[in-house]
């Protein structure tokens, strides 16, 4: 059993939990994920690691309530336990294994969309701790839905917040901010984009045009998370990969996003489809085409 030592509602429907999981905290690296189950009947829910504390033996996760499983999870309180909490799964972010000198010479841009700010955070923090200041764009639908702004500010070189409705920070999609920054004369050697599939798709279309190599972190449907079921298969550069063991990070310019988005909807109920529509907004329609 894995104790919840801290719970915080970051904003409507987005929760942060710090959970005791000693083995995971000892060995995890930025970019990896865990699978949690809240009780004996619970679904296995994959979540990217948002932060970790090796001394305390804890892992921080952030999740949005999108279905029955995450809604029930949101009812758990400090002092309650997760029935299962396994990880770290997947490969660590490439940054972690890169030569420090070459990493320090790089200009790195992170692009986070919505709850994607959570998995971006440990990477920016890791770089910060290793003396690398990265630029970070955080996009959110509205001011109210923005998460981890302060935390991100503390570790980012420059932080650019943008809201779709212009209610806070810059106005418009993250892609607009990328365009603006480049127009302002900023140059980037690498971009790491994490957020809704549709955001990653459009970021990749743009960065390809701009010639910025881009890494994305995919969160497809999965069951075991160790390579056994193959539910998470994605096509990258024309080859089939398992996101759980080969990823979750991939070269964004090689990912077949249309297929990946389609596959995400396999088990969507009417409720789930509505949520997906809400999450992906107007950009959703006419792209994956499976919801209606």
């Amino acid at each position: 059993m894995y104790k919840i030592v801290k719970k915080q509602e970051l904003t409507t429907n987005i929760y942060l939990m710090e959970v005791e999981a000693k083995r995971v905290a000892k060995s995890c690296e930025p970019g990896q994920f865990v699978i949690v189950r809240m009780d004996e009947e619970g679904e296995r829910i994959p979540l990217t690691i948002c932060d970790y504390n090796r001394e305390k033996g804890t892992i921080t996760i952030v999740f949005q309530t999108v279905g029955a499983g995450t809604k029930m999870m949101a009812d758990l309180q400090e002092g309650d336990y997760f029935h299962d909490f396994v990880g770290p799964l997947g490969c660590a972010s490439e940054l972690v294994n890169e030569d420090m000198d070459s990493l320090k010479a790089k200009k790195i841009l992170f692009v986070a969309g919505g709850v994607g700010a959570a998995p971006v955070y440990p990477q920016v923090k890791w770089l910060h701790e290793h003396g690398v200041a990265a630029d970070v764009i955080v996009g959110s639908k509205t001011k109210d839905l923005l998460i981890l702004e302060k935390e991100m500010e503390a570790v980012a070189g420059n932080l650019y917040v943008t809201t779709d409705d212009g209610s806070y920070g810059r106005s418009g999609m993250v892609t607009q901010t990328i365009k603006d920054l480049v127009a302002e004369g900023k140059q980037y050697d690498v971009c790491i984009a994490i957020g809704p599939m549709i955001m990653m798709k459009f970021v990749c279309l743009l960065t390809k045009e701009l010639g910025i190599p881009t890494v994305v972190s995919l969160n497809p449907i999965m069951v075991d998370g160790t390579g056994m079921c193959g539910a998470c298969r994605v096509t990258v550069g024309g080859k089939v990969k398992f996101a759980c063991v080969d990823g979750p990070e991939f070269d964004g310019h090689q990912v077949n996003f249309d297929e990946a988005m389609r596959r995400q909807s396999i088990y969507k109920t009417a409720e789930g489809r509505a949520m997906l529509e809400l999450e992906e907004g107007d950009t959703h329609h006419g792209n994956c085409g499976v919801c209606h």
Partner: protein, 460 residues
């Protein structure tokens, strides 16, 4: 009593069971078991024992059944097998113990599997537990994976007095016994969970949610956690796909995914939070036991189900009993048929599968006649679900994180089949991680051999 014919075993009616997940085979009662045991001629040089990968004293336990000493029969089986209720259900007895039975030369062989099952079920219902070790060795052994190989190895080592901990990647112990083999062949709560409890009763500890190679490594287990030896029984691995167009369409699943959702996550149960696709017309591609399990599961979820296999019935790798049960339940066999493309609608959902007819040519390296395409015989099967059951390739999680652990060209761990010894000192391996996908009992045999190998190593 008719000595040439076995006592038939009671089964759930095919029409009835096609709609539920209750166990198909109902097993013998005491009277039937004693009657069947009475047919055993108690050979001096018993061939059946030679056919058993864990060398159970088969005539020995059958004599006890004949005399009604079921507890003693259980004790005899337990000396060699940690999972008799499982083996009695899923072992391919026809090619092992029963395949060698002298009675089988004229007439039916003794139903050894059904007798083993009867004894194990009786012991469970009578709450009889196997005996643990009386003396402790004071040494720790780690076992990776709680499937048949791991449970057997752990059980044997615990009986010798070792302090054993099993590390399981999933949230529940049992490996393929819980995620792979369906409820209707192997009940989880009443049979598998109880056999695992028996292994725990021997003193074995099981830590779930630990992925070796990720949560921790073999080197860390040995250097930091004080384990003197490690057994790797991590199982088969990653599902294979055909590599044909359309295979990533919505509605194409690996048999592993389909079965894991249904068995481990219980998605057949309305109360389960894990979904499964309820197809109307399903094709299962492949002809092994896993294909039969996936097909019979889809049938029970309400689908019309076709097995699509590129060779003929004779070459089906599945057990005869499984094929027979599948046919009885109404599974349609499309043999000598090979998929070449999966068709999907504009939204990416499966609508059909383009196949080509095959005929058998000359034998290939496996000795089976090679299937060859019949030119111009392409046709389309209309479907909404395709389940690929084509076998697995080894999971690199452990081999890639353990220095000095050699793998062969198929990426299976290299281990001595007599004692499980790998190329890394103190590390042993067995089961599907070594052989590639095989059977429960072969994995158990390997677990047993490795337990002996580990004991010899630690006794030096």
């Amino acid at each position: 009593m008719d000595v040439l014919n076995k006592v038939p075993v009671r089964e759930q009616d095919a029409k009835e069971r096609a709609k539920n997940f209750e166990e198909v085979c109902l097993g013998y009662n005491l009277e039937e078991a004693q009657c069947e045991a009475g047919r055993c001629i108690n050979c001096k040089n018993a061939q059946c024992v030679k056919g058993c990968p864990v060398a159970i004293d088969i005539p020995g336990f059958i004599q006890q059944v004949k005399e009604g000493n079921i507890e003693e029969a259980y004790r005899i089986i337990s000396e060699s097998s940690a999972l008799p209720a499982v083996c009695g259900r899923v072992c391919p007895q026809e090619s092992q113990c029963e395949g060698k039975c002298i009675r089988g030369i004229k007439g039916d062989p003794i139903s050894i599997g059904k007798l083993e099952r009867f004894v194990a079920d009786w012991a469970r219902e009578s709450n009889i537990k196997p005996q643990g070790a009386t003396e402790k060795k004071g040494k720790k052994v780690a076992v990776i994976g709680s499937g048949p190989a791991g449970l057997t190895c752990a059980g044997d080592l615990a009986k010798m007095g070792y302090d054993v901990t099993i590390f399981e990647a999933l949230h529940e112990a049992g490996g393929v016994l819980v995620y792979g083999i369906p409820e209707f062949r192997l009940p989880k709560k009443t049979v598998v969970a109880k056999e695992i409890e028996n292994v725990k009763a021997l003193g074995v500890k099981i830590e779930t949610n630990v992925v070796i190679g990720k949560s921790t490594t073999i080197d860390e287990l040995m250097e930091e956690e004080g384990f003197s030896a490690v057994f790797i029984g991590s199982g088969a691995g990653l599902p294979k796909f055909m590599g044909i167009p359309g295979e990533n369409s919505n509605g194409v699943f690996s048999a592993n995914e389909y079965l894991t959702r249904n068995n481990l996550m219980k998605s057949f149960d309305k109360n389960s939070n894990t979904p499964i696709m309820h197809g109307k017309k399903v094709a299962v591609v492949g002809g092994g036991n896993v294909a039969m399990d996936a097909a019979r599961t889809a049938l029970r979820l309400g689908a019309e189900v076709h097995i699509v296999y590129r060779r003929s019935e004779e070459e089906l790798p599945a057990r005869v009993e499984e094929v027979h049960h599948a046919k009885e339940e109404g599974i349609i066999f499309d043999l000598l048929t090979n998929p070449i493309e999966i068709l999907a609608d504009e939204k990416g959902w499966v609508t059909g599968m383009k196949c080509i007819k095959m005929e058998l040519g000359e034998p290939d390296e496996s000795g089976r006649r090679r299937p060859v395409e019949v030119a111009g015989s392409e046709f389309v099967m209309e479907l909404d679900t395709v389940i690929m059951s084509l076998g697995t390739s080894p999971n690199p999680l452990i081999s890639s994180t353990t220095e000095g652990l050699e793998v062969n060209k198929w990426k299976c761990i290299v281990a001595d089949e007599n004692n499980g010894k790998t190329t890394k000192e103190g590390v042993y391996a067995g089961g599907d991680a070594v052989t590639g996908a095989a059977t429960v009992i072969l994995a158990m045999g390997a677990g047993k051999a490795a337990a002996k190998g580990i004991d010899e190593y630690l006794s030096k």
